[in-house]
Amino acid sequence: MESIFFYLLALVILVFSFLTISSKNILRTAVYLLFVLCATAGIYFMMNYNFLAAVQLTVYAGGIVVLIIFSILLTHQINTRLELASLKKRLIAAVISFISAATFFWALSKTTWPDTNGGVADTSLNNIGLQLMNFGPNGYVLPFEVISILLLASMVAAIIIAKKFSHD
């Protein structure tokens, strides 16, 4: 029963990610991307990664897509059609990504994974918080701090970029 839902969500992800890269209307492209991200959050929910799914919904679907839609409204008339690259460039892009994909799937078919160790990961919010603040083994306080500095730096940089223009 669960596998049917997984394949349904996978189908939604595949169809809408194809539409994301092929649609000619830019606002529709953003909405298709939103569907892809929500379906991914559904897969995380099914695997019992509830916190990650919530983060995916709030940061990706709630934050980034809204930011993208804002920037579309700031830079476009909504009805303009997207122009495509020349046929030659699109062909080169298709060949490059097809070769990479063929290599990937060939390697995947040659690999056998070890059996799962049967355990169930403890994805409770309590455990996640403890590991995120822990500096021992399996502690992630250093990348947590690095991410916080990165976010601060990008916020300052975005303000400076926005401010520089208004002076000249």
Binding site: S17, T40, L52, I68, L82, A101, W113, I128, L150
Partner: protein
Amino acid sequence: MIEGVGLNHFLILSGVVFFLGMYGFLSRRNMITLLMSLELMLNAVNINFVAFNAYLNNDFLQGHFFALFIIGVAAAEAALAIAIIVLLYRKFNSINIEKSNTMKH
């Protein structure tokens, strides 16, 4: 992990999404759609991390935390990229990547 679904199915899903994003990144000319293709690729990588964590090494949560940090980096990168795109639009009146080539001349 999900009953009746193997690890390979996750990898095929994330591989297809990743290379669709790659094709979009190489073939699109509009900066905002480039950014969206990039988000698609990062999302595929996240699916990969989570699947490996749930199937192969589920005593710890490494894949889970890496997916979390990737989402954080993606948010920072999207905010900066959009600031730059809006600035370029004001300067060149277009967000086609082939029109903003001042440094070439």
